[in-house]
């Protein structure tokens, strides 16, 4: 077990890579009641074309299967695991993103038992035809719920504009049609390929004794029989740099229109410190352009084009990435035009001052301190960072090093007509 100190933050992190390849991290948090643990596999909705364990050929699996598998893993021959957790006073949950599936619990008592339950249930799949069929009704309602949600439709609409081939454009839950093709055998095939300990990470944060918990996990894993895994082969079709569609308008049962503009990221093959710097630079650029203290924000708010739903965000993972800006608006076309102009002004050399940059960096540093108050944030983000070969605790030093030149280079490279797109939701006539 190695110990890593983060002096300025007054945090210590313990790490060990177990014999079967599982990476375990423990962050003790004194004074907290809650322990939060996540058990995450590097397998998400984009992993839909791969070579199954023990086979040679690539297979394409139905859309939404990673998420379906997440639901089904909770069910065992003798009932569901939620029951087990709540008997032990814990609340359990799970989520599937584009690139990860995470299982988690939080509890303030019986932490050892809950940890055992978490690790064991994820490592002991039980799928039957009957329960797979029943789940189709529940997930069908989940999909329908999102269909009625204008913000979700807007978000995915924009990704679908931006990406032509990459599976990031597929809704994480799939469609009612696509999930109808899911069978128990397909679930086992995905499970066996992606749920090997060497493709997973366990993170525990809370008022815990690291040594004791590391011993527990080590013992638990030693009892289980895992053969060494070959590297997982995933296939993604080539994705052009250009967006697929510059604009899409969705008509929905809403009173207020919504507008998001987006831009496809460059350099999506980055990992490690390079990716960290790239995404932080992009985040600072967006802050300078659209943060509440920016002139742009003030202008848009004063013109009545935006309200408090206005937000901006940058996502980058291996193989895809995008920036998004927008929110509710009375005039979606005008907002799209103005946001675009603001972006292109930045490309052509906007006059950000050193003072503004300094403030934007300070703001990000404060936001990071606030975020590490949260065990959930630490566990989830640390895992995401680790899967991309980055370290969450490098955020502040990396931020401090961002220069005006980095910002300008970023703006001039990334902002481009061919990577730009707009998605709007407007009231149905």
């Amino acid at each position: 077990m190695e110990k890593i100190n983060f002096d300025q933050l007054q945090e210590e992190l313990y790490h060990e890579k177990l014999a079967n390849g599982l990476n375990v991290y423990i962050l003790p948090k004194k004074g907290f009641n809650k322990t939060y643990a996540t058990f995450t596999t590097k397998y998400g909705s984009v992993d839909n074309n791969f070579v199954p364990l023990g086979k040679e050929e690539y297979v394409k699996v139905p859309d939404g299967i990673a998420h379906f598998l997440e639901h089904k893993l909770f069910e065992k021959e003798d009932g569901d695991v939620f029951q087990q957790f709540s008997k032990q006073g814990a609340s359990a949950n799970a989520f599937t993103s584009f690139t990860r599936t995470a299982y988690l619990f939080s509890s303030t008592s019986d932490v050892e038992k809950n940890l055992e339950t978490l690790v064991d249930f994820v490592q002991d799949p039980y799928f039957s035809e009957k329960t797979v069929e029943k789940e189709k009704g529940i997930i069908g309602q989940e999909i329908t719920m999102y269909d009625d949600n204008p913000d979700w439709r807007l978000y995915f609409g924009l990704i679908q504009n931006l990406y032509q081939n990459h599976p990031v454009k597929i809704d994480i839950a799939g469609t009612i049609e696509s999930i109808s093709h899911i069978t128990k055998d397909l679930l086992y095939e995905c499970y066996n390929t992606f749920y090997h300990p060497s493709n997973m990470l366990l993170f525990i944060v809370g008022p815990v004794d690291p040594k004791k918990f590391m011993d527990q996990v080590r013992e638990n894993q030693a009892k289980k029989n895992y053969k060494e895994m070959p590297e997982i082969k995933r296939k993604f079709e080539d994705e052009p740099l250009q967006t697929g569609q510059p604009k899409q308008v969705l008509e929905m049962n809403v009173q207020t229109s919504k507008c998001l503009i987006g831009m496809k990221a460059l350099h999506v093959d980055q990992t490690g410190p390079e990716l960290l710097k790239n995404e932080l630079t992009m985040n600072v650029l967006l802050d300078l352009l659209f943060g509440k203290s920016s002139e742009n924000y003030n202008q848009l708010y004063n013109e009545g084009l935006i309200d408090e739903t206005f937000s901006y965000d940058y996502t980058q993972e291996q193989g895809f990435g995008f920036a998004m800006v927008g929110g509710d608006t009375e005039n979606p076309d005008k907002l799209a035009d103005e946001l675009k102009n603001m972006l292109f002004q930045a490309k052509n050399g906007t006059t950000f001052t050193e003072e503004q940059l300094d403030r934007a960096k300070k703001k990000k540093i404060g936001a990071f301190l606030r975020a590490v108050n949260s065990p959930e944030y630490i566990a989830n983000q640390f895992t995401r960072y680790a899967f991309n070969d980055m370290n969450l605790f490098d955020v502040v030093p990396t931020l401090e090093k961002i220069t005006m030149n980095d910002i300008k280079t970023m703006a001039s490279e990334v902002i481009s007509e061919e990577r730009f797109s707009v998605c709007q939701v407007i009231p149905k006539k």
């Binding site: 009641n33 006073g89 009625d148």
Partner: protein, 426 residues
């Protein structure tokens, strides 16, 4: 549970609550002001905090104010409105980094406090009116905010349930005010309301973090002073009993139906059977091991989400679920059956033990965040009680099955609201 050691001091015009803890890397201020919910006041009250946080005397534009917050290592300032019982509560939350984690020694606690004081007491005013432009801007945003409820069908159906269920009671009013009243607000009458609110509301300040009580007290004495007051209490009137369940169906172009069911629990925070009610709600629909989740979702496969929650100060319980349009009768039937089962005592000791464990866990988790802790402590202010968290947990642990069955029999189904799709109507 030492983190709930709340030190309360009566200051001029408000109460100061200090919670010293070294759990966090930030310090948090929560300013709360509470007044009875009224038709005349609700919309101004919903607008006021937005105007106050938009600019101030020394930071007369949003850009200036927000730049200063960024300068203070991205201090966050946000406001929040809530209904608790028949009260309308405004909260201002300011969270700021603790400088001990920074290389820069700027005294952020003091600066944060000064800024909070600036926003609350030195508004951007000329003569006897708020800045006209700010008010106009915020009125426009308020209208959008009120309107946006319509577009989120989950929130919309919850609002509609309460409007139908509590017709004629203040609780039916929307937390963000009423659209038709926005235009009647002027920079003058809003300023008038501002003075009234700060001289009549019950006001509380929570300061949570690695702070010293004495230091906070002396900052508070210097920076925040108001007139003393006796806060207004809501006089609750007896709600006439409905002779039959109120059933409302509304059609809209939606794919998923939203089923919202409202009950009168006839129990509020501070009542002796309040903890039994918490347990009732937990077994009935509060968690993923609850009857509603097991029977509506897991067994009948009708919904992705189905749960119940309490409004502790108003004595309501609300069930919400998203179902297929054609499954209305079946879902309502299952939900009704679960209440009946509870009333007959048809639940196991295991379910009871499980629910106690989960609620205990939930409370302890809630107080791990400074906001959660504030919300738990503030219950006592709203209800004018002094129930310690330890007592809360102990009383809950001691609650028996009989007490829960007694609570179940006090609960009355009041209103069923269904937002249904246009295609469902033949």
């Amino acid at each position: 549970m030492d983190s709930t050691a709340e030190k309360i001091t009566t200051m001029q015009g408000y109460k100061l609550h200090v919670i010293e803890t070294d759990k966090y890397k930030t310090n948090t201020f929560v300013w709360k002001m509470k007044a009875p919910l009224t038709k005349e006041g609700v919309t101004k009250r919903a607008l006021l905090p937005h105007v106050l946080q938009s600019s101030s005397a020394n930071y007369p534009t949003t850009t200036a104010l927000r730049s200063y917050l960024d300068e203070l290592y991205g201090a966050t300032l946000f406001i929040d409105l809530a209904k608790k019982g028949e009260y309308h509560i405004i909260s201002f939350t300011l969270e700021i980094a603790n400088e001990k984690f920074l290389s820069d020694p700027t005294p952020l606690l003091k600066k944060g406090f000064e800024l909070l004081s600036e926003v609350l007491t030195k508004p951007n005013v000329s003569g006897n009116a708020f800045d006209q432009e700010t008010v106009n801007k915020e009125k426009r945003t308020l209208k959008q905010r009120i309107q946006s409820v319509y577009d989120d069908k989950m929130r919309y159906s919850n609002v509609r349930l309460l409007q139908e269920m509590c017709k004629g009671e203040p609780y039916a009013l929307q937390v963000n005010g009423e659209a038709e009243d926005v235009d009647t607000i002027t920079p003058e009458n809003l300023y008038e309301y501002f003075k009234k609110a700060f001289s009549e509301d019950e006001m509380d300040l929570y300061v949570i973090g690695d702070v010293k009580e004495e230091e906070v007290k002396s900052l508070a004495e210097n920076l925040l002073k108001f007139e003393d007051r006796t806060p207004k209490k809501v006089v609750t009137t007896e709600i006439p009993k409905k002779d039959q369940v109120n059933e409302i169906k509304e059609e809209q172009d939606v794919k998923q139906g939203k089923l919202n069911v409202g009950y009168r629990t006839n129990i509020v925070y501070g009542d002796s059977d309040y903890f039994a009610l918490q347990l009732f709600n937990g077994i009935f629909g509060g968690f993923s091991h609850s009857k509603l989740f097991i029977n509506v979702r897991e067994k009948a496969s009708l919904a992705y989400y189905v749960s119940s929650r309490l409004e502790s100060h108003k004595g309501l319980m609300m069930v919400m679920s998203g179902i297929d349009l054609k499954n209305y009768d079946q879902a309502v039937g299952i939900i009704r059956d679960q209440l009946e089962a509870m009333q007959k005592g048809d639940f196991t000791d295991q379910e009871l033990i499980q629910t106690k464990a989960v609620i205990r866990n939930q409370i302890l988790e809630t107080i791990d965040t400074s906001r959660g802790l504030t919300e738990i402590l503030y219950h006592n202010v709203v209800a004018a009680k002094d129930i310690k968290l330890e007592q809360w947990i102990n009383d809950m642990e001691k609650t028996t099955k009989e007490e829960i069955v007694a609570v179940a029999n006090k609960i009355e189904l009041d209103t069923i609201y269904f937002l249904t799709g246009t295609e469902a109507v033949k």
